[in-house]
Structure formats: structure tokens, C-alpha cells
């Protein structure tokens, strides 16, 4: 078990209402999880708890327990936490150290902080840059990269620290479609490596086709967890204040039935679901 929350409630210091209320969940090692929910649903707060940023950095009152690989986050120092759980934020620009002059140095920044031996830093940096598909950019000035490249650099910088869990909080929210696709493809490529990935994302179309399970947050509570088709087929979707992928919604409105196959996320699946063959579409 990579991560567990047990009846977890968290209230930020100075706040009157909890950001997270009585959430219990279990995330298996090596799986890809997506977190969805409307604005203010508690998605980022959940990420903060999963990574230990709350309550270590963002102070507040924690009820229940958050465990990483069986150990409570409150019993681990931030230094121990960052080698277990990596955290990638929305804005790649804010994640840069601003004291490096090349992509390789930027990836090395976190490893230097942890006192990793120089030879090992270079090996890990090379590996992380290759995994993210930006090895050819190693000598470039970070701020000269495109948005997608910059976010992939941010992911590589965290990945190089060899965490067993990677948490990404809306990593594509500030990227164009090309940058978004780059980041999704890079993260999807990490599947099968044993890394557990948790991603908060509003782009439900992309998330639904990539993740093993979706978690739905609403007003600080976890209201659903399951495979994307399971969750998005649920009649309660509108009550959860989320939207289905457009093709799935369209198929449902066109009278798609259970017998027609799984809820469609892609065009081909959609055509099957509404009993149209490719030849019927002109």
C-alpha cells in the first residue's frame, strides 16, 4: 500500500471550516490515480496531505491519519517525506530554483540539497531527463523552455529524487494543448515502473483515458472512487459537480445503453456506443 488516509480531517490554521473532512482512502503501489472535483472541492488540500506539506509546511489541525508506506506523515521529517513522495505544482515557473543556468543543473538542485554524491546526481539526472524525454535539452537555460518542456523539467526534477509516489497538482493548468499532451504522455510513460502517480486535473477527457482509478472530491469529502468508466457512468455525476468527457455525455444523451459497450471516451468507442460505424460518418 503506497498511501492511506484514515478518517482524515484537516483544517488550515486560521480557517473556520475544514478543507478535508473525514476522508478515508487507500492507494495501491504502481497505480495511476486521477483526482477530480469542482473548484474548492479540496483537491489541492488532499495533495498537500498526501505529500506531507500539510501539516509540516502548511500548518493546521490534523484529525485521523495519513500514512505513506505504512508510516504516519507526522512521524516523518520533511526531509524523509520528499524522498518518498514527490510533489509537482501547478506553475512550473514557481518550482524553479532560480539559481541554475541549465536544465541538468536544475534537476540536480534537489539532489544536491539531499547531499547525494555527485556521480549519483549525474546518473539520476540523466535518467530522469530521458524518462521525461528532455535529455536533449540538458544544456538549455530553463527559462528558455516552452511551457510543456518547463513542466516536464519540473517533473524530472522531482522524479530524480526517486520517490515511490508522485503527486501532480494540476500540472497542465497553465499549458497549451501541445504542452498538456507532452506532460500527459511523459507521465503515462512512467506507468509500469512501479511508481504510484496521483494527478489532480480538470481536463477530464485526458485523465479518464490515462488513469486506473478516479477519485471524486466534493466540498472536502471523497464522494466516489473507482475506474473512470465506473465513476463517470454513475448517475450522481451531476450531484458531484463534475462533468463527463464530452463524447461520453453525448453518447448518453443519444441514448447509449449498457449493452452497447463501455462508456465511450474516444471517437471510435463513441461510434460503437451509438451504433454508428465509421462508414456512416461523413
Amino acid at each position: 500500500m503506497a498511501l492511506e488516509l484514515e478518517h482524515t480531517t484537516f483544517t488550515y490554521a486560521g480557517a473556520t471550516q475544514p478543507a478535508i473532512t473525514d476522508v478515508s482512502l487507500r492507494l495501491e503501489a504502481g497505480q495511476f490515480y486521477g483526482i477530480i472535483g469542482s473548484t474548492g472541492a479540496g483537491k489541492s488540500s488532499l495533495c498537500n496531505l498526501l505529500t506531507g506539506i500539510a501539516p509540516h509546511f502548511l500548518k493546521g489541525e490534523l484529525g485521523g491519519e495519513v500514512r505513506i508506506e505504512g508510516v504516519s506523515t507526522t512521524q516523518l521529517s520533511m526531509e524523509e517525506l520528499v524522498t518518498r513522495v514527490g510533489y509537482v505544482f501547478q506553475n512550473p515557473f514557481d518550482q524553479l530554483s532560480h539559481v541554475t543556468y541549465s536544465v541538468e543543473e536544475e534537476v540536480a538542485f534537489g539532489l544536491q540539497n539531499l547531499g547525494i554524491e555527485v556521480g549519483e546526481i549525474r546518473t539520476r539526472a540523466e535518467w530522469a531527463l530521458k524518462v521525461l524525454g528532455i535529455a536533449d535539452l540538458r544544456d538549455r537555460f530553463p527559462l528558455d523552455l516552452s511551457g510543456g518542456e518547463l513542466q516536464r523539467l519540473a517533473v524530472a526534477s522531482i522524479l530524480a529524487m526517486k520517490p515511490s509516489v508522485l503527486v501532480l497538482d494540476e500540472p497542465t493548468s497553465q499549458l497549451d494543448p501541445q504542452g498538456t499532451r507532452e506532460v500527459f504522455e511523459a507521465v503515462a510513460a512512467m506507468r509500469g515502473s512501479g511508481l504510484t502517480v496521483v494527478m489532480v486535473e480538470h481536463k477530464i477527457e485526458l485523465l479518464a483515458t490515462h488513469v486506473d482509478e478516479l477519485l471524486v472530491m466534493q466540498r472536502g469529502r471523497l464522494v466516489a472512487q473507482g475506474s473512470p468508466r465506473q465513476v463517470l457512468s454513475d448517475p450522481s455525476v451531476q450531484d458531484w459537480e463534475i462533468e463527463r468527457p464530452q463524447l461520453a455525455e453525448l453518447a448518453l444523451r443519444l441514448g447509449r445503453t449498457e449493452a452497447a459497450g463501455p462508456l465511450p471516451f474516444g471517437v471510435e468507442e463513441f461510434l460503437v456506443a451509438v451504433n454508428l460505424g465509421p462508414k456512416d460518418v461523413h
Binding site: I53, E79, G86, F93, D94, S97, H98, Y101, L143, G147
Partner: protein, 260 residues
């Protein structure tokens, strides 16, 4: 996403680039101390000249003018006008430049102060413009300071261009909503108010995000940090450092003796 900003550091292979950052830092501190001790136009002119020469040898003269000196010139002009018009300790005779009646003592003071500022600011800019930020952090750490101190100083300096970018973006946004920012001094001053609040608030938000990101990258780890960049030193640098320090009491002695 924030637009691209450049770090102040200008990569290069000049002699000044290759000098150990601690030596350069000592040079900047020494130049500041010399600037405080010296008090006449000619010695200060020599000091400012040396400062600019080092910048030129480092190949960063254009960057110095672009990032700093053009703003300093505005300060110097103000200094010249204000001091030239009003600074008159001895009640000496005035002389005219166009419509202005200037006081000699005030003009001399303004010139000395301008040279002093050029020498001091130029020395520190020479360090910042020719030293890789990571090397400077490492050097500060080697001098016994906490790596956090080094990082905070450096990141603050390096983020200055970002602040300028942010201010420009806010100003453009406010202009697009009809805010007048050009015209009389009063209009320009009024135009500043809608800039300050978003700039301040946005910067605070950004600082928190950056602090969280640094935390997630092990910045506050208690372990001894490693560095993938190694710092070199010329054979003459230890002697040069001693000379920089030794020159200070000599200059103080000359000043006390009235020779400077």
C-alpha cells in the same frame, strides 16, 4: 505562466568569470569600504574607473549599463541638481549653468557621491554579472554562512527581473482597462496605486508557492549539501585577497594624515 525572464548572470569565460566567487565578493566589500574612506574627486574617480574597468574586462559592460547604470544616471542628475542648487555650507559664490545658479561645494559633493556610488554598485554588479548563481551560493556556504542565507540573497537578486516583468504585465492589464499612466507627474503617480496592490499580493502568493516548491525539493534538509559544480582558484588569489584587506588600513592612515 510568467513570461521569460533572464537571470542577471551573464555566462562567459573572461578572467573575471574565472576568479573564485569568494575573492570577487571580498573585492566588492573592499571597494565599498574604500569608497567610504576616500573623500576627494580624484581618488574616487580612480576607484570608480577601476570598478568600471573590472566590469569591462568581465565583458559585462553592456549588461551593467542596461540593468543598473542607466537608472543610476537619473539618480546622479537629481543629486547634481539638488545638491548643486542647495548645498552651500560655506556660502561661497555661485556659478551659472544655463538658468541654474549652482554652488561649487554642492557640485563637488554630487560628483564625489556619484563616483562613490558607481564604484560600490559597479563592484557588486561585477560579482553578480560574472558569477554563476550556484557558485555564489556555494562560495557563501564555504565562507561559513548557512546555504539558506546564500540562496535567499541570490534568489532575491535573480528574481528582480521577474518582479519587473510582473509589474509590466499588471501595468499593461490596467492600461487595457483604461488606466492612464502617461502624462503629468500627478497622473503618473495616480497610475501607481492600481499597480502596487496586485504586485504586492501577487508577489506574496508567488513567494509562498516558491517556498513550498523548495520544501518539496529538500531545500530545508539538514544534510550537508553536495555541488555538481566545482570552484577553481588562481594561484595569485590568496595574495590578492590579503592585498585587498591590507589596503584598507593604509587608506585609512592616508586619510587621517590628510594625504587623501
Amino acid at each position: 505562466m510568467a513570461g521569460p525572464t533572464r537571470l542577471l548572470f551573464q555566462p562567459g569565460g573572461s578572467l573575471i568569470h574565472r576568479v573564485h566567487p569568494a575573492t570577487k565578493l571580498l573585492y566588492a566589500v573592499a571597494m565599498t569600504a574604500y569608497g567610504i574612506v576616500l573623500d576627494q574627486v580624484l581618488p574616487l574617480l580612480a576607484l570608480a574607473g577601476l570598478s568600471v574597468l573590472v566590469i569591462a574586462v568581465g565583458g559585462v559592460f553592456r549588461a551593467f549599463v542596461r540593468t543598473t547604470f542607466r537608472y543610476l544616471v537619473v539618480l546622479f542628475v537629481f543629486l547634481f541638481i539638488i545638491r548643486g542648487l542647495f548645498y552651500d555650507p560655506g556660502g561661497a559664490e555661485t556659478f551659472s549653468v544655463g538658468p541654474l545658479d549652482l554652488k561649487p561645494a554642492g557640485v563637488v559633493f554630487a560628483v564625489e557621491m556619484s563616483l562613490r556610488i558607481t564604484a560600490m554598485v559597479g563592484a557588486f554588479l561585477a560579482v553578480i554579472l560574472t558569477t554563476h548563481p550556484a557558485d555564489l551560493v556555494q562560495a557563501i556556504e564555504q565562507l561559513g554562512a548557512s546555504p539558506r542565507v546564500g540562496y535567499i540573497v541570490l534568489a532575491t537578486l535573480q528574481l528582480t527581473p521577474e518582479m519587473v516583468d510582473r509589474a509590466r504585465r499588471i501595468m499593461d492589464a490596467q492600461r487595457s482597462r483604461g488606466l492612464r499612466t502617461e502624462g503629468s507627474l500627478l497622473i503618473r503617480t495616480r497610475g501607481l496605486f492600481p499597480l502596487v496592490a496586485p504586485l504586492f499580493y501577487g508577489s506574496l502568493m508567488s513567494v509562498e508557492a516558491k517556498a513550498m516548491a523548495l520544501t518539496a525539493r529538500g531545500f530545508f534538509s539538514q544534510r550537508k549539501k553536495t555541488h555538481i559544480r566545482s570552484l577553481g582558484m588562481f594561484a595569485w588569489e590568496p595574495g590578492f585577497r590579503i592585498a585587498l584587506v591590507a589596503l584598507l588600513p593604509i587608506l585609512i592612515g592616508f586619510r587621517v594624515a590628510g594625504w587623501l
